[in-house]
Symmetry: C2
Subunit: 674 residues, 2 copies
């Protein structure tokens, strides 16, 4: 929000109050008139400014209806089970959508897994309850819901309802409340507590108007039972991550015990969304791709950080979300790490790599931002988290989450399963290291804490070296140390109960529970983002408006079309087979359109589905064994030998050559029809 709009709104508000006060004080009509005029003019200014802000927002220029029509007609994706009326939040990918998805996943595999030698695994969707209890999902993987107390069929996700209501109020020029407050609520909606949301609904009068219940948590996992007896509860995984955590030992072993390393997984996730909507953006079953980078908690630097350190990403840190709502585009990733805005190098490394990936895949870099999670919004396991958000016709939308989950998961699974999930930090040479030992005097502890003594001893054993020293210092100074255990209870530890001592040992390695940095990609959301960001239209010579998808060749479902100019089969077949055989040999996906329709019509059909190149076989081809090659975005064409064409397309589709270079190498061809 620009400051001038805020200023203008403040002025309007003040003026409104002035007018009201004057009325109350019984001011004459003549006295009132000029003040009311000022107010009317201020209102008009605010209205105009809101309108012009909306217009300058690139997301409002996206022709969503046109894109939706295209997706439906060409079967990119479609609501599942639509002959039965469909099920909200479930979508099927048709042939081009399926190919786009496969290409995107292959690119992801090359860009992340192969590039950084990650260990790819595939785990099951069905997950027993114990795993998700340990991870905290059974208890905490919830959204707040509210329902109409008078009609239980009317229910809402509380944060989304709040966002919608605030947005509606902001569009209302006559709204005279605190607009900045509304903006702030929109930004923090999904991090509010049930009490906070309830209070706001009351303040805005929505609770009363809609008979809303107090917000209550709804668990987003799909539940089932495993086995014929029905007593083993299972869930469909809400993320692929847990499968990698529970396999940590085997993964470390496969990596020869070396740290750090990353595991990766491409697969399905499931979330029983309360109110699925917005096409592929909020669905109940979704393809995702996740990386778990395991690293020492105190050594989160990254050896390849320098390769992305100079990138300036559009950052939206906590501070700016809570204040002016503006992006920071002035910082390199290195600077953002140095000033502590981004927690560590590894997190920043993946933010940089993610940005490069998204842009390569067709996301518009100028419509991307990295938004830091607010403290209150952070997942229960995260210690810092940045979402890559894309600006869509639906507003800013998370498409990648990059979280530092700290050692939360491995610690929890290790405790619950009683399996050691530590790695070893190895030194080049054995070295002397100080360890802090804490001897516990059970004879004193027992009588003091009775039944609770066991829990106190366990908590003492889990203290870090630093905490042990703190305890020792506190006892030295005050004679007592207040020990807090996981249940929240506190116990007074006194001098005779413990004896803290620093000892030196010669060691070659020390064990530790690794931290995890997790970039998690919503494949469906990225696909939808690419579609919106590459959807264009252009006016042709005949004034016809044609839509097309400007997909990068690397993700385009089909790379090239093969179009014999006439449908005469015998005449063009030899040339066509020469070309398709060569394309097959190069592993390039192609589509033959020998429908005999006007060539312009056929180009329109291939442009629409994002095929980047088109080979046309014309009558000249029969004489000199040449064809034309057309590029989708520029619609320019070149003429080249049939023998060269497959290899050239291969190079164009694999970043080995640009269209500009091709156009320099081969003569331009001026066609009658574009």
């Amino acid at each position: 929000m620009s400051e001038s709009l805020a200023e203008l709104q403040a002025k309007m508000k003040a003026q409104g109050e002035k007018v009201r006060q004057m009325k109350k004080d019984g001011a004459s009509r003549d006295d009132l008139k000029p003040e009311v005029d000022i107010l009317t003019s201020l209102r008009a200014d605010v209205e105009k400014m809101i309108e012009s802000e909306a217009e300058s927002n690139p997301a409002n220029k996206i022709n969503r209806a046109g894109l939706e029509d295209l997706c439906k007609r060409r079967f990119l994706f479609t609501p599942s089970f639509s002959i039965y009326g469909g099920v909200a939040g479930l979508y099927d990918f048709g042939p081009p959508g399926c190919a786009l998805k496969a290409n995107l996943e292959a690119l992801w595999r090359r860009h992340f897994i192969n590039h950084d030698n990650m260990l790819e695994i595939q785990c099951t969707c069905l997950t027993p309850e114990v795993v998700l209890k340990t991870s905290g999902h059974v208890e905490k993987f919830t959204d707040l819901m509210v329902k109409n107390e008078k009609n239980p069929d009317e229910y809402y996700r509380a944060d989304k309802l709040l966002e919608e209501k605030c947005e509606a109020l902001l569009q209302e020029p006559s709204f005279e409340g605190d607009r900045e407050q509304l903006q702030k609520w929109i930004r923090v909606a999904d991090s509010l507590s049930a009490e906070e949301v309830d209070k706001i609904f009351q303040e805005l009068g929505i609770k009363q108007a809609m008979n809303l219940s107090f917000p209550y948590p709804f668990n987003l996992m799909f539940k089932t039972t495993i086995g014929p007896q029905g007593n083993l509860v299972g869930f469909l995984r809400p993320e692929t991550a847990q499968g990698m955590f529970v396999n940590f030992r085997r993964l470390l072993e496969q990596n020869g015990g070396k740290m750090p390393f990353a595991a990766a997984q491409i697969g399905l996730g499931f979330r029983n969304e309360i109110a699925p909507r917005a096409g592929l953006l909020r669905v109940r079953e979704f393809p995702m791709a996740e990386i778990e980078h395991f690293v020492h908690p105190d050594h989160k630097d990254h050896p390849d950080f320098h390769k992305v350190a100079d990138l300036k990403l559009p950052l939206f840190p906590q501070h700016n979300q809570l204040t002016d709502g503006k992006l920071r585009t002035d910082l390199t990733l290195r600077q953002a790490v140095d000033i502590g805005m981004i927690n560590n190098e590894t997190l920043a490394y993946f933010m940089g790599r993610t940005f490069l990936f998204l842009v390569k895949a067709g996301v518009d870099g100028s419509m991307l931002r990295f938004r830091q999670h607010l403290k209150s919004e952070m997942a229960h396991y995260a210690c810092d988290c940045w979402d890559a958000e894309a600006l869509l016709s639906y507003g800013w939308t998370e498409i990648v989450g990059i979280a530092d989950r700290s050692a939360y998961d491995l610690t929890a699974h290790s405790k619950a399963s009683k399996v050691d999930l530590k790695a070893n930090y190895k030194f080049d040479e054995p070295r002397n290291m100080e360890f802090v030992e804490c001897k516990i005097n059970k004879g004193k502890l027992g009588p003091a804490f009775k039944k609770e003594a066991g829990a106190v001893i366990e908590a003492l054993n889990e203290l870090t070296d630093k905490q042990k020293l703190e305890m020792d210092a506190a006892i030295e100074e005050n004679g007592v140390y207040e020990l807090k255990i996981c249940t929240g209870a506190r116990y007074n530890i006194t001098k005779e109960m413990v004896k803290v001592k620093t000892v030196t040992k010669r060691v070659q390695e020390v064990p530790f529970i690794p931290s995890v940095i997790e970039p998690a990609f919503g494949v469906g959301r990225i696909i939808y983002t690419i579609l919106e960001h590459t959807f264009r239209s252009r006016e042709m010579e005949d004034q016809e408006l044609r839509c097309y998808l400007s997909l990068p060749p690397v993700v385009a479902p089909t790379k090239v079309s093969v179009l014999p100019i006439s449908s005469n089969p015998t005449q063009f077949k030899p040339a066509m087979h020469k070309i398709t055989d060569a394309l097959k040999e190069h592993g390039i996906s192609y589509k033959v359109d020998d429908s005999g329709q006007a060539i312009g019509k056929r180009y329109a059909r291939t442009d629409e589905i994002g095929i980047p190149f088109g080979i046309t076989i014309d009558f000249q081809s029969l004489n000199d064994d040449t064809v034309t090659l057309r590029e989708r975005d520029s619609m320019s064409q070149i003429r080249l030998p049939i023998a060269d064409v497959a290899d050239l397309v291969y190079k164009l589709c694999t970043d080995r050559m640009t269209w500009e270079q091709a156009a320099e190498k081969y003569p331009k061809f001026d066609a009658q029809h574009a």
Copy 2:
């Protein structure tokens, strides 16, 4: 079972009866002695023959324990959630298993989807109840279970328990019952009704001994609810097929309305198996790959059938399963279709293509058979079905099912959803066609059937032309026609109720509901089959026994290893980077092992995981820029320039060149260590 064993067993049985009768008749010891000796000797012969049959069975030569150890150590796959004790029937794929799976799926995509221009789609796993009710799965997708009446924690899948018990009895030389009957029960176990299974359990005394309940059906689908209200029941799909049926209209549209065509899908299926076991063979969540080939019910010939028609597959038709239990290997696919053994060309076409695929992927063709489903065993939707079964250490196991589902699914979905799922059969020229019309006299029907008249009219409207003529003939002859409706009720239709007439119309096309031929591949089962069939061991010069996987390069997780002979980093790095850069350029997966271990040890590690080729950089490489290339199975090596090696490996891995051809082109290299 060889005939001579059956004969021997018959003799033994007769001799046993003779001895018993003699005892009963009070024969003397001296009279008995020679007869008992004959019986003892016959028993020994039977025992010996059973043993030798077991030995000659290649499945018994598979070193399953060795393979399992390998799979675990190298993390090919592992029980899921094993740190929590695991969940039966759930497995994770580790890095090499994941790569093997990806390669197999890519091969499948090329061999089937690209080869036949199929439309690939991806549908959701979550499926609303209505779809699976219509498909018949809610009612019929069950296995029979029996439980111990005295201990409900003891339960079994009835057919598997029967198979096990019969097999155990066959291994028992003293068993004197009908061995051929046991063999037959094993073959037909999963096609028996609850009553039949119960009767056999009683006959064998198993029911009494184990306190077995009467067999009851257990639905194998995982159930959940969709949405926050909990009233929309959903299941995890037991097959990917339904998603393709419900999208039929869109698919046909994408294919320009042309028939026949095929859709294909690679994705997960879920079955809540009663007793998962045998590693990847019977699991609860499994990757599968399915094709739905839509075709006119009366035109199931296939344009490309001639390409596979001369193949002689090992066929195991219904007849032989019920009689001698022998394979037919003397018939070409064309002959099998001509004599009506295989229902139609399209079914046979996919059987041939499936055989070629499996062998290409590494399945041993001599340990494969195509078994026809027995009538009683056929799925509720199938009209003919052939399973590709592999001989494994667990016995013959279905790995692909190729079913003719007739028009069952599309008919059912069309009825339930009230959406037209017909295609059009187009003629080249308009033609005159005869249609049979049936005019219904509601004035007569109404009073005759009262409340049921509606159902009768609906049934009359659904009669085919042939049925209408049959009705007309019956009424003509007997004055009455007995109409059976779907509920099973019968109604007498008489002359005054209907008027049947043949009319001629000029038409260009006729609508029809397509039949579906469905080849369904169990990806996990095929992976396990490949592993068993390619698992070998060999004795090295030093007498060490080494195991390895003789995986075809096309599916091998890693194509080539790069091994600098010494771990001196600076010396070998330039050559190594030259090679790895070229491999990357060719898109070949490789693994560097610069551990500095003895080269023989390193070869052993790469052989074990099935890496087909190894590039060794030695001291000679530093002088003349050549390296050695080793082939895994023959352990032979050739010497060639570094500049050639990536291209050669690429050719070897993509069937562009054989190892023999490479060995002719480049000089042999005799290494000290294999």
